[in-house]
Amino acid sequence: MEFDEIKRLTELSLTEKIEHAKSIITEGLERFSHDELYVAWTGGKDSTTMLWLYREACNAAGKPLSRTMFIDEGSVFEEIWELVEQVKNLWNVEVAVVKNTDVSAKAKKMGDLIRVADLNQRNRAEVANLEFNDEFFPFEPESFVGNHLMKTVAMNVFLEDHAVKALSTAIRWDEQQARVKEQTFSPRANPEHLRIHPILHFKERDIWDTIHAHKIPYCSLYSQGYRSLGAKGSTFKNSDIPAWEQDLENTPERAGRGQAKEQVMAKLRDLGYM
């Protein structure tokens, strides 16, 4: 998408942003049947807001609420499970919990070593594709092999098994530099499907404004100061005040999951790196 168009969309009023998101969702609902389209739901603020938008759009179109897919990568916060349970009951959401149990069953706890040879054929082939030649890998969702098997492979197997043609995810342009190039409708290969991104144009502040204005449930961790939720073992609080009261515009959303890259780069440059 052209920079000017991205700028226009991210500067719309909240009402206009919500309408734009609903129009994307409605287009997806027209192109794909109820069986073909899934909403990727993590229990985080963005995908729960997106699910609410689906609920609004489905109601308006007189259609049943789209099905959701939840990836359990083996390290999910208890508070996330609570939110998922709450919303599931409140909105009558159909949730398919996706988990690479062939991998998770071979580890008792995070960090346990898993022998590649013990995995099923699909997982072994995936590990081989990564050019990972070691005998063992650690069971950690954020590690190289772990991330691939517990998230990507788990999801791909689900998409293949259910012949999913469209998957809606809640990525946002302002969340990460790398996402600026993302398109609203984005075709993917292996397995072939279409990604639908209805809330690319929402800023972090818009999400919280939508949540508060429309009383959308959110995970209690945000009240404790978390701003962006990943795996339990690798996500940290940004502050002790609720996410929406933090300086969203001037501090990095994903700092609890990484670092403010630019500042680090500047520091490294001073010492001759980069």
Binding site: L113, N129, L130, E131, F132, N133, D134, F136, F137, P138, E140, S143, F144, V145, N147, H148, A178, S234, F236, N238, S239, D240, A255, G256, G258, Q259, A260, K261, Q263, V264, M265, A266, K267, L268, D270, L271, G272, Y273, M274
Partner: protein, 422 residues
């Protein structure tokens, strides 16, 4: 107690000891073992200190540099404390209920809760994420604690550099005083990083006696000696149930020497037809162009652009070994303008690394001869160049001291030795 002196060479300390600049360290070193130590390859703080704190090499702890690529992409990320996959010294002894205080250890940002207290070191950018428990933040702020000197300004302003070095060392002293009392610790670790900054920016002031900042350079080491003398006395005078438990270790994470020339590996790869960029002034390795076979990341890591691994990969598996051999020969034959061999040795990844994170390892790592500072910079027009930086790291001239007389030859052995005390 462990005192880390970032970048301080064994040879420099031995000279300063002989010339009487560091009397307190001198007498400490006379009791126990004081010797030369080798460090990680690449010889940079994040890798070397991660190796110290885990007792493992990169294939096991997962840290290969300040910068790394997300798997299967050219997207850069900055590995941090949360990416260290092996257990640290303080996590290890916490299993026996032992408490640690860790101050300014590089590669421990963002801070996370430990049994005790931790203040992150380089590359920590926000004090609010650099301290655990967070209740210490206001106290440290009141004491004027600073994570680092203002490197951006100090690099070009020696007066400011020395003022900042003093202020930062003072802040560390206050942090030591505060945490010494607040925590009933079993292991106390303090790392001084001003040494590394000073030697990067003003190494010639160390070597040249008539340099306008030679005396200031010497004075900084003298005030460092006072600092160490104070904590040493405090440690030795403290009550302890068993004085045999009072053990002191000191070490650095690499040495230093004078830069003759910086060597831009990506430029060498370009000139030899291995690497192309999409634009004339590439900014990062993300600007790699199609048709590239090889690329480099800071400071000395070489990656084969494998078809199966990278989006713009061109190299087949079967061509991997011959290409590695070709690069090794090419680089080991690289000569400077004056005809000096630039490279000491090119290591294949299996020679340096093993373990669960081997797949993230560079395919080759280059170790240079002293004076030739390897860089992964992408936008140079020449293979050789200079900037205002004067000092570069060395791999085989770090130091190690133990009050027990126990000896080690490499930084990978330190953790186990220290753990044995607990």
């Amino acid at each position: 107690m462990v005192v880390g002196l970032d970048g301080v060479p064994f040879s420099l300390l031995a000279n300063l000891k002989k010339s009487g600049v560091i009397p307190k360290m001198g007498s400490i070193f006379d009791n126990g073992y004081f010797g030369k130590m080798a460090v990680s390859i690449p010889e940079i703080s994040s890798v070397s200190w991660s190796s110290f704190m885990t007792g493992k090499q990169s294939g096991e702890h997962g840290i290969y540099g300040f910068i790394d690529l997300e798997p299967g992409t050219y997207n850069m990320f900055f590995p941090n404390y949360l990416d260290i996959k092996a257990r640290t010294l303080w996590d290890e002894i916490a299993q026996n209920g032992k408490k640690s205080v860790v101050i300014n250890m590089p590669a421990t940002y963002p801070a996370r809760a430990i049994n005790g207290a931790l203040i992150s070191g380089f590359v920590a950018i926000d004090i609010n994420k650099a301290v655990s428990p967070p209740a210490l933040i206001p106290k440290l702020n009141d004491l004027g604690y600073r994570i680092d000197i203002d490197t951006a300004k100090a690099r070009h302003d020696p007066e400011l550099l020395f003022r900042d070095l003093d202020a930062t060392l003072n802040g560390r002293q206050h942090a030591v005083d505060l945490l010494w009392q607040e925590f009933d610790w079993d292991l106390f670790i303090i790392v001084i990083t001003g040494t590394d900054r000073l030697m990067h920016f003003l190494w010639t002031a160390c070597e040249q006696k008539d340099h306008p900042y030679h005396q200031a350079f010497v004075d900084y080491f003298a005030s460092l000696d006072d600092f160490i003398g104070r904590i040493y006395d405090r440690f030795m005078n403290a009550d302890a149930s068993d004085t045999d438990l009072k053990k002191i270790y000191m070490l650095s994470d690499h040495g230093f020497c004078k830069i003759n020339k910086e060597v831009y590996l990506n430029r060498w790869l370009q000139e030899n037809g291995y690497l192309k960029f999409q634009k004339n002034s590439p900014e990062t390795i993300m600007d790699i162009g199609s048709g590239s076979k090889v690329f480099a990341l800071d400071p000395s890591r070489i990656y084969i652009n494998l078809k199966s691994k990278y989006p713009l990969g061109t190299v087949d598996r079967k061509d991997y070994d011959p290409l590695c051999r070709e690069l090794k020969t090419g680089l080991e034959n690289l000569k400077s303008d004056s005809g000096d061999p630039v490279v000491k040795k090119v290591y294949a990844k299996d020679e340096l690394f093993h373990g669960p994170y081997l797949s993230a390892a560079p395919d080759l790592v280059v170790l240079s001869n002293p004076g030739y500072d390897l860089k992964g910079k992408v936008n140079s027009t020449e293979v050789f160049g200079r900037t205002d930086l004067e000092g570069m790291h060395t791999q085989d001239d770090a130091f190690f001291y133990s009050s027990t007389g126990a000896q080690i030859k490499s930084i990978f052995e330190a953790k186990e030795m220290i753990c044995r005390s607990f």
